[in-house]
């Protein structure tokens, strides 16, 4: 029987299938952990006297609760927050005790967990991958089944390298056509979430298909899969192809020699078979998309940048009306107001959605030889130390610094406002991150989600800008 990509990966990892009474026992190939959602899981192991079953299938990094401020004279990134210091040293201690490799803060391979995995060649087609972070969906760009889990489940995987799971349904999102200049992968995924809504993918694993997806680079595909969870889907997947295989080849943890040939042969069998069916399918046309921007307080509240803020009065459902009204009051926006021209205080270019080298190149290309608008704070935060090194080798940091932007150390930074990088109350940010929830980037802060290109345009003009008017 023809199978989808998801079904092939799922079936290959069934230790025990689902029954009427019990969920499936799913084997996990790779477990990524970080300092914020793992400490209580290690406590659970100690309480039960359990070991980590496969430390060699586990990798830890520090990213969420880490400062991105400059290194001191000794080359160390200073951690001044005592709670952060305690949490980071707890991770260090846990990794040492249980034998788990750790990319500690500031070391050469440190960075955001979802940047590090692919960069090191650990993320590979056909794997099952989990992490105590909802943006684990990122790794699905390689044709892995990758999803976020809670801390109890982090404990389950540490102890057994398995997870109890009910089988999700399948959802194909086919994106046809070709993107227009100035429109990017970020705009595709924001348009998808605006279409299906923030709960539209709940219970599904999404597979992104179609000509527009096939044309994307791996880093662009990661941007798409990263935000699957913002549409409610725990995982998003893209079938591996030549683009995938070329990206993985030669990376530190990629298979080598004959093992590489065998792996490629296996990966070639993963794409969805002709005639396989999905539980749900939608189709979008990439050629009709414009740069997207969000106006509200969830990622589904996005519109083409040329459009105006919607009116709660136009909604039939009273609950939805109340929710939109509350959002607009928080955002300080008026129904019918145009988004273009709205002032911006901060621009944040970074996060597991858009902090890879191609994101930084795009922003730098627009900012080269230009100057940040007066009064606007622009933070450029590479996703990892490796991305930082590459960007510096290409001179991108000089482009940002000359324009008047900040060039910072790697980490999650202002995506989630827990590490010192925060908006001030009432500030407006154009952010390349993934969530515009109330207070997400700092209490009272107001976020417009957009692509790195749109963010760079806002950095230069100080207002929300249609980047297409700035492209030569």
């Amino acid at each position: 029987m023809p199978q989808t990509l998801f079904e092939k990966v799922w079936n290959a990892h069934l230790v025990r299938p689902e029954s009427d009474e019990t969920p499936a026992v799913l084997a996990i190939d790779l477990h990524l952990i970080h300092e914020v959602t793992s400490p209580q899981a290690f406590t659970l192991l100690r309480e039960r006297g359990l070991r980590v079953r496969h430390p060699e299938r586990t990798l830890a990094t520090m990213d969420h609760n880490t400062p991105t401020t400059p290194r001191d004279a000794n080359g160390v990134i200073p951690v001044t927050d005592p709670q952060a210091r305690a949490q980071l040293s707890q991770l260090e201690q846990n990794c040492a005790e249980f034998g788990i490799p750790l990319y500690a803060l500031g070391t050469e391979n440190n960075g955001i967990v979802h940047v590090v995995g692919p960069e090191q060649g650990l993320t590979q087609p056909g794997l099952t991958m989990v992490c105590g972070d909802s943006h684990t969906s990122t790794h699905g760009a390689f044709g892995a089944l990758a999803f976020g889990i809670g801390t109890s489940e982090v404990g389950h995987v540490l102890a057994t390298q398995c997870l109890l799971q009910s089988r999700p349904r399948t959802f194909a999102i086919q994106v046809n056509g070709q993107l227009q200049p100035g429109v990017t992968a970020k705009d595709i995924i924001l348009a998808i979430i605006a279409t299906i809504g923030v709960g539209g993918g709940t219970g599904y694993v999404v597979e992104y298909t179609g000509e527009a997806i096939r044309a994307l680079s791996m880093e662009e595909r990661m941007t798409i899969c990263n935000m699957s969870i913002e549409g409610g889907a725990r995982a998003g997947m893209i079938a591996p192809d030549d683009t995938t295989i070329e990206y993985v080849a030669g990376r530190p943890f990629a298979p080598k020699g004959r093992a590489w040939d065998a792996a490629v042969e296996r990966w070639r069998t993963l794409p969805t078979d002709e005639g396989a069916t999905y539980d749900r399918t939608i189709t979008l046309d990439a050629s009709t998309l414009a740069p997207m921007i969000t106006y509200g307080t969830n990622p589904g509240m996005g519109i083409p940048i040329t459009e105006s803020v919607p009116d709660p009065a136009s909604l039939d459902d009273p609950g939805a009306r109340l929710t939109l009204d509350k959002s607009l009051r928080y955002m300080g926006l008026i129904p019918g107001q145009r988004m273009i021209g709205h002032p911006v205080d901060v621009v944040f270019i970074g996060s597991c959605t858009n902090s890879r080298i191609s994101d930084l190149r795009q922003a730098a290309n627009l900012m080269r030889g230009r100057t940040v608008a007066p009064g606007v704070r622009v933070m450029v935060v590479p996703g990892s130390q490796q991305v930082k090194k590459q960007a510096e080798a290409e001179g991108l940091h000089q482009v940002f610094l000359s324009a008047g932007a900040e060039w910072r150390e790697a980490g999650c930074s202002m995506c989630l406002g827990m590490n010192g990088d925060q908006l001030k109350p009432r500030q407006y940010a154009v952010s390349t991150s993934n969530r515009n929830f109330e207070g997400r980037q700092g209490p009272g802060g107001r976020t417009f989600l957009a692509s790195p290109l749109t963010a760079a345009a806002a950095a230069l003009t100080g207002v929300i800008t249609d980047v297409r008017t700035m492209l030569s």
Binding site: Q83, G150, A159, T160
Partner: protein, 203 residues
């Protein structure tokens, strides 16, 4: 874990759709390495102003919210981050159940592992619950996990609610899911014998 069978409790309503886990507990409260004190941070930015004073218009700050153990909340509750701190905060504050028309996946999974019942109801029941809460400054409900029946004690209504059968079994018997998983050792070992590691993090 304490077994859960049936309980009757006061419910209050927060009728906002898409309440995300950053609202339930903002990220800056995720720096702890244990589960203590999470209840104090529940809905921190909605409950307290910048100076830390309670906002009088927020439902949890109303005098009648005292002792409430059930939260009635809008569609797609718990979307966003995978932080288990969200159910820890709700439990820490004293909530035993959330009633909504829809729950985000990861939140629902996390809630069930912490003795917090995600009770899914139809839109009409939800609207009635919100009205009862708003008219009566809270309302009393009975949640029976044995029969999977929610009773609106003041609304003369009984509705069935679904819950994952394995999670229900664990909750009714007060056993945790890790125990079940550890019992699968034989099957896990057999799987691993046939499936060598596809990737290793230690060279």
């Amino acid at each position: 874990m304490e077994p859960i069978t049936t309980f009757t409790a006061k419910a209050i309503a927060l009728p906002i759709d898409n309440i995300d886990t950053d609202q339930i507990i903002p990220a800056r409260f995720l720096k702890a390495t244990d589960k203590q004190g999470m209840g104090d941070a529940l809905f921190a930015d909605w409950r307290f102003d910048a100076a830390g004073n309670p906002r009088p218009d927020f439902v949890l700050n109303h005098p009648e919210a005292a002792g409430a153990e059930v939260l009635v909340a809008g569609h797609n509750f718990g979307c966003g981050s995978s932080r288990e701190h969200a159910p820890w905060a709700l439990r820490g504050h004293g909530f035993k159940a959330v009633i909504s028309t829809y729950f985000a996946d990861i939140f629902r999974n996390n809630a069930l592992k912490n003795g917090l019942l995600p009770v899914t109801v139809d839109a009409e029941t939800y609207r009635q619950l919100v009205s009862l809460c708003e008219e009566g400054m809270g309302t009393t409900v009975t949640i029976d996990l044995t029969s999977l029946i929610l009773t609106l004690n003041e609304g003369n209504r009984q509705v069935a609610f679904p819950i994952d059968s394995f999670a229900r079994y664990c909750l009714l018997n007060g056993i945790d899911q890790l125990g079940f998983l550890l019992q699968q050792e034989e099957a896990i070992a057999a799987y691993e014998a046939e499936h060598p590691a596809l990737v290793q993090t230690i060279a």
